[in-house]
Structure formats: structure tokens, C-alpha cells
């Protein structure tokens, strides 16, 4: 079935030129008066309905980055020199050389708003979208991860949203056949009306397989393949992700339920076919250019492919296969129906292209051709309905330098020093504090979630949750692999977005290094409130500056990312929550290091400096519901040195275990390592037990040294100037802290594992 009945009511280019006064619903589509005027200026007339649909999608905050672009350019300007970068920002995803002829591509993206409206499908299609981004680069997607943030774990709505989101990720990722190798789960009241669902995908290819998203060569054919276009997700990008919930406008429209049809519906089976189909097309050399269809659907794919290439493209929009024959051109252009790709193929390859699609049961249709006109032209049953320079939508969208101002509340927040909070002062109180933290929803065992994800499929998962990072084998023979971690801490960022973002970067960097992998590149998902709020915009600017400076200091470039604004409920924005993903290369995954204390008698050594740092800490949050003061000090030189020790320690076989210290400090790290390895440990703390157990000083890790190699490891740490404090030994049936307490493993396990099942069933 092809699209729509022919109606004389179509708004053609000729009609637009003849009816300049015709009133158009641009404001409802999210465009301002000035933006609408600019479209008229670009075209020399009013846009047709179809053109208006294209501009509305492409100039939405989600697609155009109009509020963030002025800041994001720092990622390129401050990027450290890196020989590893094969493709960077501006591509669908960055591509990194990992050696031996392999390249990996990875990216993280938000699906926050759809996941609140319809958790299951919202989260499912978030996975689908990021996987197609990776596929479009020419890579085979090989794993996914998810960074999830919800409102209070015991809030009634969290019981709607969390199981739905996890179920959606499970449904889509498992059926697609991609191992889920890690991620995050945390809770805070600020996410109650606006959960964060950030999905990451990583793909692998050979160097020569990199694909371009540029429609070049007039006469080449434009093929749309995958699912049919339906009325689902119409305006998803512009409507959902570019306005806040609970605003008066949303309520007039009937509230959140009115937006439900804007959420796309996923078909992971079709996506699996699309993946295998594309990889076979690539291998056969049948693809000249390709782009996935995500936000703004055909509008985005057509304008971006054309703008990046020769500039001209002709599309017969009525040939687009549709699921609903009543869909007209604007709906077809704005639909965000899932599991679709757009490719450019040389005419001599079209027959073979369509045959590969048929083999995989994937519908494919030639809908147009590349032209030399420099214009994107679309027809509807022969009538010209779009005639525009594609770059005007794809590249030359509005750029706003939004006003920004440091909120007055920032000083008050910093002044609320947690150092005045009542602390546990004796052994039993410290013991209770540890068990309380270990059982708190954000730090509790996440098996309830991760057990719903397939981590085994494809047979290359070396480490997955609850390890510090996911680790994948890439080459069976050499053991080459990649490690990935995502981290973010909204509490730190609300205290200081510059430092908080660097702490997120440092934590992910540390997590990757803890496995023995060398950090290579960075992706990010920047989740913030409304950019129209100067306070939020200040947070955003500080976060971007912090990340760009941090990446320069650590020598790891940002290869791509995603911005999600309007994460707020009414006037209340979420904590600024940049989520940072770090990818590292592991020279031999057989030498990976786990967090588990699995060797009795091995020394437990703490690396790094510990000071009393409680601002934004898990202890202050869980025990006192307190947020204030300064986040931990950032020392990126110390992070580099620590990572160097961890990487060399793994390479030289000196380490049995390594676990980064972050939320909950040494107390939580020791408990997790004991539970993971199934062995206890006995440690002696060199100073004030509370500080040593619960401070969240950065640039630290706890390691377990292979017996007999203690001296070699001490020399290694000293050589890099990393303080190494011998704490004790692995062994016994519990976590014992001399002069304080001992907790049997069974009691630790009960506290750790009981929380999420009790909450979610």
C-alpha cells in the first residue's frame, strides 16, 4: 500500500506562493515568530504544510541543539590530540580506532520524556534508536547499557515507571540479541516527574567499513527500508523532548495522556532483521550512504543526507509505504515510526540491494534519487510540495545564546556544610550506617533489574554488572577488547556543575581503568531542565565547560553525545545530570580485573588520598536527607596516575581485584568486593573510622594484590606517585574493621539484596 489518497487539498509549493497570508500553526509545532519569519525568508515565500513540518522537526531543540550548540563547540575546540579518532562530533556517533584494524563506535542518548509518558515503549524505543545510530556508522552493534534515574524508590509512581522502563529495555534489547553489560540505577525526588532513561550502544567494525551519511552522486537512488511509516510518534522530537511536562499548555491539551500517541512503538524483531540486513548490504558493497531514522523521521534523514552530500534530492513522498492510508505529507514527514533506515545506492546496485532486503524480509522501496539541483524537492502524486535548500533545515537552524545566571541559591547550598551533621561515633553506629547505606535503593544490589537483561548473547561478555565497567571481547585470537562505563551524580552537579561533571567523567574513567582497560574516548548525555531558565542554562554551561576541560586534562576526546533539556516538572528542574560514558581499550581481556575479593590471604590496599569530604555524599543523602556543601575535590592529575597504576597492575598480573571508590566511599566498595568474591576481609583503618569509611574523596580505588607481588605493586604505585595504604587481608566470613565492627557476609548480603525485590516484587 502506498501513501494517502490523492486530494486536491494538498498544500503545494505553487499554492504556498499564491497564498502568502494563509495562517499556519507554526506556534503549535513549537516554532517562534522569529523562526517562522526566518523560514519565510529562506524560502522567499511561506512554507507549505510539508515544509513547515520539516522545519518544525529539524529546528526543535532536540534536533537542532539550538540552545546548546554555542556551548558544545568547546568539545571540539578543547579536544586533546588523539590519534584514535576516526570520526567525531557531527557524525551520528564517534568512531575510535582500537588497533588491530578494528574501530568501535559508541554513543549515549536520552529517551526521558517518552519513558515517563509510556515507560515500557518509551524505554524500548530508546534502545532501538541508539542501536540504529551505531548501525548507520557501518558497525555491528555489540552491546547496550542503560543509565536510569527515578524518583524516590518507594513513591507510587516509581512503581509504575521503573518496572515499565526495565521491562521495555528487557523486551527490546533481549529480542534484538544485544548483551546488556552495565549502566546505572539511582533514585532522587528530583526525578519523580521526570525519570532519566539514557541508553548507550557500542558497535564494532573494521576500519574500512565506516559509512558516510552523505547523499552524493546525482542519479543515485534513495531507498527507504524497514518498517512501514505509521501515525505513531508524530512530532515526538519537537513535542515531547522540547517542552516541559506540567506546563499550562500541556494541561490545556489534556495533560500527559494527550502526549501518549506521540510515543513510538517498538518492534525489536524488525530491528534485528534490519541489523542483519544492513550488515549484509555493507559487506556486499551495496550502500553508498546511509542514515537511520530517529527523531523527526524522514524529515531528518532526507535533509541531513542531502545537506551532507551533493545537496540535491528528489523524493516521491507518496511512494513511502504506510500503515495508515490516511496519512498526509506532514504526518509522513514527522512520523517517528521505529525500525526504518534510509540509504543511497548506485543504480547498478539497486536490484541487489532490494534482493538482500527481501532475503531478510525487510520491506524496501526506492522513494527518490540524488540530484544536482542543490535543493530537496518532494512531490505528492506529482505535485511539488517541498522545494528547499536542505542545509537550511539540517545545518543552519537557529542558534541561541540563552541568558545564563548563577542562581542565588547556589551560595546558600554551598554554605549548608554537611560537616555539622551528626555522625556515627562508635563501632555499632558505624556498622548500622554501613548496612543502611548498603540497603539504600541507590546502592542496593541491582539484580532485580539486571536479571531481566540478557548479558550472555553473542558470547563475548567478559564483565557485566555489578562490575565497575562492562568488558567485551572483540577478537577471539588476540584478546583485544573494549570496556565501557557510564557515570553521573546529580547531587554533586547541583552543588557545583563544573566540578560535578568532572567527577562523573573521572568516575567513568576510573571504572574503565579498574578492569585494566586504557580510557580512549568519551560520550555524554546532558540531562538538564529548561534552557529558558537562566539558572539551568548556567548549570549547563558550567557542566559543558567542566567536561571539555576535564577531557583535555585526561587526554580523552568527546566523540559525540546528546542533550536533553526540559527535564522538569512545572518550574522545578531536575538536578543537573550530565551522564558521562567512557570507552577504553583492553589489550587482552584475559587479564581483566574484577571487583570481587576472590583470593584468600591477598592484601587489601587503598589507592589515593582520603580527606573528610561529605558534600553530596551518599551518607549525607541516605542518613540525613541532606544536600549541601562542596562536592569532593577534583584532581585529574591524580586520576591519571591512579588509572596508570590500575592498568599496569592488570597488565602485569599484580591484581586479583580492583574496585573504584565513589558513592558510599570505602565502606560500600569493601562490602561490594566481599559480596562479589564471596570472601570476607579484615582491615585496619589508619585514622578516624568515619572519614575512612564514608568520605567520597575522588581518585581512589581499593585493590587486592596477588600474594607474593606486594612489593612489586607498592613500587608501581610509588612510581606513579599514588599513595598506597595497606589496609588488611582478604579472608574470613565477614567484613571486619578492627576496633569497630564485623559483619558476616550473610548479613551484608541480606541488607544488599533485599531492597529492590521488597519494593518492586
Amino acid at each position: 500500500m502506498t501513501a494517502g489518497p490523492m486530494t486536491s487539498a494538498q498544500d503545494t509549493v505553487a499554492r504556498a506562493a499564491a497564498t502568502p497570508q494563509h495562517r499556519q500553526p507554526y506556534a503549535e509545532l513549537g516554532l517562534t515568530d522569529a523562526e517562522y519569519d526566518r523560514i519565510r525568508q529562506v524560502l522567499g515565500r511561506r512554507p507549505t504544510d510539508a515544509e513547515l513540518a520539516i522545519y518544525a522537526g529539524m529546528w526543535s531543540e532536540h534536533c537542532s541543539y539550538k540552545s546548546s550548540r554555542a556551548h558544545l563547540k568547546q568539545f571540539a575546540e578543547k579536544a586533546p590530540p588523539s590519534a584514535a579518532l576516526l570520526a567525531g562530533i557531527g557524525q551520528q556517533a564517534g568512531v575510535v580506532d582500537i588497533g588491530q584494524g578494528y574501530a568501535v563506535t559508541f554513543k549515549i542518548e536520552s529517551h526521558n520524556h517518552p519513558s515517563y509518558v509510556e515507560p515500557y515503549q518509551g524505554a524500548a524505543t530508546g534502545v532501538g534508536g541508539i542501536v540504529r545510530d551505531i548501525l548507520a556508522m557501518g558497525a555491528r552493534p555489540v552491546a547496550v547499557m542503560d543509565a536510569l534515574r527515578f524518583g524516590p524508590a518507594d513513591a507510587p509512581d516509581t512503581r509504575r515507571v521503573l518496572p515499565g522502563v526495565v521491562g521495555g529495555i528487557s523486551f527490546y534489547g533481549n529480542c534484538l540479541g544485544l548483551p546488556n553489560i552495565g549502566g546505572e540505577l539511582s533514585f532522587d525526588p528530583c526525578y519523580a516527574g521526570n525519570p532519566l532513561v539514557n541508553a548507550l550502544c557500542v558497535g564494532v567494525m573494521r576500519h574500512g567499513d565506516l559509512k558516510q551519511a552523505a547523499a552524493t552522486g546525482p542519479g543515485n537512488q534513495v531507498v527507504l527500508f524497514g518498517s512501514r511509516t505509521g501515525p505513531d510518534g508524530i512530532g515526538g522530537a519537537s513535542v515531547l523532548a522540547s517542552a516541559s511536562f506540567g506546563s499550562p499548555k500541556a494541561n490545556e491539551d489534556g495533560g500527559e495522556s494527550a502526549k501518549r500517541p506521540s510515543v513510538q512503538v517498538g518492534d525489536p524483531f524488525m530491528e534485528k532483521l534490519l541489523v542483519e540486513c544492513c550488515l549484509e548490504l555493507y559487506a556486499a558493497g551495496l550502500v553508498a550512504a546511509i542514515q537511520d531514522l530517529g527523531a523527526a523521521g524522514i524529515s531528518c534523514a532526507a535533509t541531513e543526507l542531502a545537506a551532507a552530500g551533493t545537496g540535491g534530492m528528489r523524493v516521491s513522498l507518496d511512494t513511502v509505504p504506510v500503515r495508515d492510508a490516511s496519512l498526509g505529507p506532514p504526518a509522513i514527514l514527522m512520523s517517528e515510526s521505529q525500525e526504518r533506515m534510509m540509504a543511497v545506492a548506485e543504480p547498478r546496485h539497486v536490484e541487489a540491494f532490494l534482493a538482500v532486503c527481501a532475503k531478510w524480509g525487510v520491506q524496501a522501496t526506492v522513494i527518490g534519487a540524488v540530484t544536482g539541483t542543490g535543493r530537496l524537492q518532494m512531490t505528492w502524486h506529482g505535485e511539488l510540495i517541498v522545494d528547499m535548500p536542505p542545509g537550511s533545515a539540517a545545518d543552519d537552524g537557529p542558534v541561541y545564546h540563552r541568558p545564563l545566571a548563577r542562581p542565588a541559591t547556589q551560595d546558600e547550598l554551598a554554605g549548608r556544610d554537611p560537616v555539622t551533621l551528626a555522625r556515627p561515633e562508635d563501632g555499632p553506629a558505624l556498622r548500622d550506617a554501613l548496612l543502611g547505606l548498603l540497603a539504600s535503593p541507590g546502592l542496593a544490589d541491582k539484580t532485580w533489574v539486571t536479571e531481566q537483561y540478557d548479558r550472555y548473547v553473542r558470547g563475548n561478555t567478559v564483565l557485566a554488572m555489578p562490575e565497575d565497567a562492562g568488558l567485551l571481547r572483540i577478537d577471539d585470537q588476540t584478546g583485544l577488547g573494549v570496556a565501557l562505563a557510564t557515570d553521573g551524580n546529580g547531587r554533586y552537579c547541583s552543588l557545583d556543575p563544573y566540578a560535578g561533571t568532572q567527577l562523573a567523567l573521572a568516575e567513568a574513567y576510573r571504572n574503565v581503568a579498574a578492569t585494566g582497560a586504557r580510557p580512549l574516548a568519551v560520550t555524554n548525555c546532558l540531562n538538564f531542565g529548561s534552557p529558558e531558565d537562566p539558572g539551568v542554562m548556567w548549570q549547563f554551561a558550567e557542566a559543558v565547560r567542566g567536561l571539555a576541560d576535564g577531557c583535555a586534562a585526561l587526554g580523552v576526546p568527546v566523540t559525540g553525545g546528546n542533550v536533553s533539556f526540559y527535564n522538569q516538572t512545572g518550574q522545578a528542574a531536575i538536578h543537573p545530570t550530565p551522564v558521562v560514558g567512557v570507552l577504553g581499550v583492553h589489550d587482552d581481556v584475559r587479564r581483566r580485573v574484577s571487583i570481587g575479593f576472590a583470593a584468600s590471604g591477598a592484601s587489601v590496599v587503598l589507592l589515593g588520598r582520603t580527606c573528610l569530604e561529605l558534600g553530596g555524599s551518599a551518607w549525607a543523602h541516605v542518613t540525613h536527607g541532606h544536600l549541601g556543601g562542596r562536592p569532593p575535590q577534583v584532581d585529574l592529575a591524580a586520576e591519571r596516575a591512579l588509572a596508570a597504576v590500575l592498568i599496569a597492575g592488570a597488565r602485569d598480573g599484580l591484581l586479583v581485584a580492583a574496585h573504584d571508590l565513589s558513592e558510599g566511599g570505602l565502606a560500600i566498595a569493601l562490602a561490594e568486593s566481599c559480596l562479589r568474591g564471596g570472601l570476607g576481609c579484615r582491615v585496619t583503618l589508619p585514622g578516624d573510622p568515619f572519614t575512612w569509611l564514608f568520605s567520597e574523596s575522588a581518585a581512589r580505588a581499593v585493590v587486592c594484590v596477588r600474594p607474593g607481588w606486594e612489593q612489586a605493586f607498592a613500587s608501581l604505585a610509588a612510581g606513579h606517585g599514588v599513595p598506597a595504604q595497606m589496609l588488611g587481608v582478604v579472608g574470613g566470613g565477614g567484613l571486619a574493621v578492627d576496633d569497630c565492627f564485623e559483619i558476616p557476609l550473610a548479613e551484608l548480603a541480606a541488607a544488599h539484596t533485599g531492597t529492590l525485590p521488597a519494593l518492586f516484587g
Partner: protein, 226 residues
């Protein structure tokens, strides 16, 4: 001569590469078989791998049983070709009536990915002869519809004939399977269906151990002995 073990790829098969890797590690030669071909390419045994064949639409395995490759496979199996169905492959074997019973939604109604302890109850099939009867092994289970169900009389018959090949022995039974059934075989023993995934337990590096390798090594030895 190296045993040639076919691994069928249906649209939506996911663990086909893993099954092929396991065959290789066990010393066999994996042969890819395509769902759309009625040709078994002269293989000595066949594995129906895990995944979501045809999206598991309608019912798990219900569409796959009508695939062209099945029209070649069913008579070959009846004539003595050993076949192992893993997870979705087990579901397909049940739908194709090569094995009795059905796999239903997990008791908790959620997908479960977990390393499970199994007891090999029948070590006389060509797929389990490398184990000893009663041997306990650890392999991953990962499924949403893994609860084996049949009527009491049929179950009693399966038990009486030793057709329960493997059983869950975890104290927290993962999916509500009747009589803790993890895998069964037909009367000949050559057709085995297993819900857990032995192909994900063939290397220390990527699995909970190497306990699953025995299924693949068993059939290769059995074929060599035949």
C-alpha cells in the same frame, strides 16, 4: 572425520553464533543452515539455537515450525538425526511435536537471566553422554517463557521413561517449571530440548564456567562412535 553440526538461523535467531562457537570449541564443524532452505547440507546433527524466531509472534516457536528448513528437518529427525533445541529451539521442537508439552510464561512473569544449577538426569542421550548421571552443572538460563508444562499423566510417563534430561536444583526455582524440568528428550533420546543455554558456558572467560561444553562434545563423540 570431523562431525558436521548444523546450526539453523531463523529470522530472529540470536544465539546461532554462540552455538556455532560451542561446536567449534568441542571439536566439531558448525554448518550454518538457513530457515528458508529445505536443505540440511548433509549434516550429522542439528542445533536449533536460542532467540526470538519470527519475533516470537503468535507464540514462541509457533511460526518457526512451519519454516522450510523444518520440512526437511522433521523427517530427518524421525529417521535418526540428533537434534538439540536450546531455549527458543526447545519451544520450536515442542511446537513441531518432536517433543511433548509446552513452555509457558515464567512464574514471575518476567524475563530471567541467571546462572542456574542443573542436575543431568539422563546421561544416555547422544547430547548428554559425556556427563555422568546425576552430575551437577552450572549454565545460564535466560528466558521469559521457560516454564515447562504438560499434563500429569504425560509427566509421569516422561519420568518413568527417563525422558527428563536435566532438572533445576536451585532452591529458588527460576521459572515455575513442572517437576523442575529444565530439559527433556524424546523416546529415542536423540531429540533433546533444553531451556538453559549450554552454549553460554563453554569458556571460563565469558561464561560461569565450561560446564555446558559437554552437550556439544557428547554429540561429537556419539557421532564418531556411530
Amino acid at each position: 572425520m570431523t562431525a558436521r553440526v548444523g546450526v539453523v538461523t531463523f529470522p530472529g535467531s540470536l544465539d546461532d553464533a554462540d552455538a556455532a562457537r560451542a561446536v567449534t570449541l568441542a571439536g566439531g564443524q558448525p554448518v550454518p543452515l538457513w530457515h528458508g532452505e529445505k536443505n540440511l547440507h548433509g549434516v550429522d546433527a542439528v542445533i536449533l539455537p536460542g532467540g526470538f524466531s519470527y519475533g516470537d509472534y503468535l507464540r514462541c516457536g509457533a511460526i518457526a515450525r512451519f519454516a522450510p528448513v523444518m520440512t526437511a528437518l522433521v523427517p530427518a529427525v524421525r529417521a535418526g538425526l540428533p537434534v538439540l533445541g536450546i531455549c527458543n529451539g526447545f519451544q520450536i521442537l515442542c511446537e513441531a511435536h518432536l517433543l511433548p508439552g509446552a513452555l509457558t510464561r515464567n512464574r514471575g512473569l518476567r524475563f530471567v537471566c541467571r546462572d542456574v544449577r542443573l542436575r543431568v538426569e539422563n546421561a544416555r542421550t547422544p547430547w548428554t553422554s559425556g556427563y555422568s548421571g546425576g552430575q551437577e552443572i552450572t549454565v545460564p538460563l535466560k528466558s521469559g517463557e521457560g516454564a515447562y508444562a504438560t499434563d500429569p499423566a504425560a509427566l509421569a510417563e516422561l519420568e518413568a521413561r527417563g525422558q527428563v534430561v536435566a532438572r533445576y536444583i536451585d532452591f529458588s526455582q527460576p521459572n515455575g517449571s513442572q517437576a523442575n524440568v529444565a530439559g527433556i528428550c524424546d523416546e529415542s533420546g536423540r531429540v533433546v530440548g533444553l531451556m538453559p543455554h549450554p552454549e553460554h558456558a563453554v569458556e571460563e572467560l565469558t561464561g560461569p564456567g565450561r560446564d555446558g561444553l559437554g552437550f556439544f562434545a557428547s554429540v561429537i563423540s556419539a557421532l564418531a562412535a556411530a
